[in-house]
Amino acid sequence: MTLTQILIFAGLGLLAGRLYRWLDRAWLLFAASVLAAFWLQPASFVRNLPYLLPLASLGLAALVWALTLPRRWNRQDAWAAGGLTALVLLVSASRFVEPLSALSPARPPGLELAAGGLALLAAAAVLAYRLGRGQAAWLNSGVLLLIGLLVALKSPPLAQATSAWLRGLGGQDPALASTLDLGWLGFSYIAFRLIHVLRDRLAGRLGEVGLRDFITYIVFFPALTAGPIERVERFVPQLQPGFVLDSAGLLAAGRRLLSGLVMKFVLADGLAFFALNPVNAWQVSQPLWMWLLLSAYALRIFFDFAGYTSIAIGLGQLFGVTLPENFTQPYRKPNLTQFWNSWHITLAQWFRAYFFNPFTRWLRGRGAPVWLVVLLGQLSTMGLIGLWHGITWNFLAWGLWHGLGLFAHNQWAQFAKARPLPLEPRLASGLGWLATLVFVALGWVWFALPQPADAAHVFGVLAGVGR
């Protein structure tokens, strides 16, 4: 989200507060979220993609809703389907109406392509509704489809091939394909929300959610760009009528929004000038300067991400939706386990719920030794969290670095339980904090530098042995 877009959303929040007496908030958020999915989508050199990607997000959401619905569709669902169709066609029609053209970053395709795409998605949703009925095979197929899409987008060679294929379809030169073509706004978050719903339906834990609220949940505009990954049973009840934006609520939302804006646009963007990157990594040969670059990177990535989350939470509050916290002072924690309880919390919780816990339970059920269960559980979970950021060696290395760190902390904690250290608790806690901070900062070297040679050089200089 750009600063202008954030300010427009904030303005809408203030205006909407005065309209709820006449306008249902849930419908307003539904319409705003659908339109924002197109509006926030970045431009792409591939023809029609800035229109088709948000359409695919909405289509996948409708498909998963139809697949997981535990009841028959009702009148409100029909209204929502009609509203969704009208909004998608409105964005397409904006190519003819000058004031509406800002709804999409590039000129949308003609109505025939939009209508064709909608017909295809409607047919798929009806089929999913008729055949799905909560059957495990269909729900698992949905999970596999979403994982397949994530892999295709996040793996550079596959993203390149997909871009070439899409360019070919649109009559463009496939030779110009680039991995940067496929900037599918918020798909990492959308896919994880959808997988959560499919898995909860499989476990028989999913409650009843109408199409309108489900679409809003998946593409809720404050959380579309950078999360958090909310759970559906926490989000949907907040759309019930009765919300009034009073002065206390306005103040709280304003504070949150302002702190997010300062973190993102002042601190993070300011630190970006001298934060570690593949270029300045080679311009520094003194350990102290390299540590400064690395510290700037560590702070920048925190302020950038936590700032975005704060903006999302502040905007959500303006519309009566409390989104979960994603960062709770992670750099002040005395150990790595607590760091991961306070860094990108909703992502870590997602992986715990849908991967770590079932995997660990399965290993424990087979009588594997405790240390091995912890090692395998932490390495695989953190490796996957790394790959979620991008399927490249450096993100995998970052994840495994933290997996090993968590395993080491677990073993140390077990050891220290039996033999408490003869140290003042505050001193022990301070030493733990320092060790955690250095370990996390060193981990950012993997994250910041895609090339192994760059990372090796930086580690060398940090240790005072490289040039």
């Binding site: 834990r205 607590q338 849908y354 079932p358 339970r361 424990r364 677990n410 339980k417």
Partner: protein
Amino acid sequence: MKAEIISKLNTYITSEILKRPDKTLSATEALISGGLIDSFSLVDLSLFVEQAWSVRLDDTELNAETFDTLEQLAGLIEARAS
């Protein structure tokens, strides 16, 4: 019933997870958000609950939001066991 569950949970957590059988946990002490129980021990705790009371804690429920204290966990077990 609830007091009995709390006492049994307390014994298990202090002796098996914290390795401090002499310690007594308060029923309202934050176990997960307070850093006493890590994610691995949480899975072990859920296996213990399943074994002791035949109550299944779902993988998505092993977090501080569902239960963070002995009081809350005992309430969950009591509600499901009945």
